[in-house]
């Protein structure tokens, strides 16, 4: 079945390899357009539909011309690891691993 992905994680989708990707360069969470912006969402869906027709080979990526409509510097934020957080993250990881181990021993526990 012909497919097109509307996605914002360009490197992950291209690493996987997909038939068609409309890349929207937004913070993860709103691949189909900024919240409440029906005008931009409408453009993005039209671009995806157009790509369904125009792509001629797999791994076709088109970058949407729609820009994230904010001056907020979002790019460095997601998943960043800051030096002052290393101890906290290490402890968080240990807690997670213990919880996952417990869940394996007693699968019914939530």
């Amino acid at each position: 079945m012909p497919t097109v992905i509307i996605g914002s994680a360009l490197d992950i989708v291209e690493h996987c390899g997909v038939p068609r990707l409309l890349f929207t360069d937004f913070p993860l969470g709103n691949p189909c357009g900024p919240p409440w912006r029906r005008d931009l969402q409408r453009s993005i869906v039209a671009q995806a539909i157009s790509l369904l027709v125009s792509a001629e080979r797999p791994r076709t990526t088109v970058r949407s011309p729609v820009e994230w409509p904010s001056d907020d510097p979002w790019r460095p934020r997601y998943g960043r690891v800051q030096p002052q957080e290393l101890e906290r993250l290490k402890a968080l990881g240990e807690e997670r691993r213990k919880r996952q181990q417990d869940a394996k021993v007693t699968p019914s526990r939530s």
Binding site: M1, P2, T3, V4, I5, I6, G7, A9, L10, D11, I12, V13, H15, C16, G17, V18, P19, F23, D25, F26, P27, L28, G29, N30, P31, C32, G33, P34, P35, W36, R37, R38, Q41, R42, V45, A46, I49, L52, V53, A55, R57, P58, E67, W68, S70, W74, R75, R77, Y78, G79, R80, V81, E85, L89, K90, G93, R96, R97, S108, S110
Partner: protein, 162 residues
């Protein structure tokens, strides 16, 4: 906000984050040397399109007693106001998912159907769990999504991962 800013490198970010959490092995992202490709079988104006999301139903009803998540489906009319998105990775500091159309554009595709640009919007959208296990996605979930799309008469699909 220069348009020339390079895209965020999420694979690298994710790897560094999990290393900081103390995980010994990096996540192995799905990768395929051979990527399937098919063209539309009919003109766009007679093609019915289905939608696929990685969001979950509001009450997490797709989760069984063992906590395993399953493929699920919802009606496009009336469209759901909100879906559950807290269990998937997105930029919770920079944006929000209060507007469901920002990640599952039911109304926008329905508009194009109403204008005759596409043949129609399938009556259901489908939800695919985001799994650590490639095998579950490939062998269980993806075939179910495809079967449901075909049951709806969809001839093409728009996949919208958060």
């Amino acid at each position: 906000m220069a348009p020339t800013e390079p895209p965020v490198r999420y694979i690298e970010r994710t790897r560094d984050y999990y290393r900081a959490l103390g995980y010994q092995h990096d996540y192995v992202w799905a990768h395929f040397d051979d990527v399937p490709f098919v063209r539309l079988a009919a003109p766009l104006a007679s093609t019915r399109i289905g939608l696929v999301t990685t969001a979950s139903p509001p009450g997490l009803e797709n989760r069984d007693a063992r906590g395993v998540r399953h493929v699920w489906s919802g009606a496009v009319a009336p469209p759901p106001t909100k879906l559950f998105t807290d269990n998937v990775a997105w930029d919770k500091e920079s944006t929000h998912t209060d507007d469901r159309a920002s990640y599952l554009p039911i109304e926008m595709v329905a508009e194009l159907a109403g204008q005759g640009v596409i043949g129609g919007l399938a009556p259901r959208f489908h939800g695919v769990p985001t799994e650590y296990s490639h095998r579950k996605t490939l062998e269980q979930d993806a075939p179910q999504i495809l079967a449901r799309l075909r049951d709806d008469g969809s001839q093409a699909a728009i996949l919208c991962p958060l």
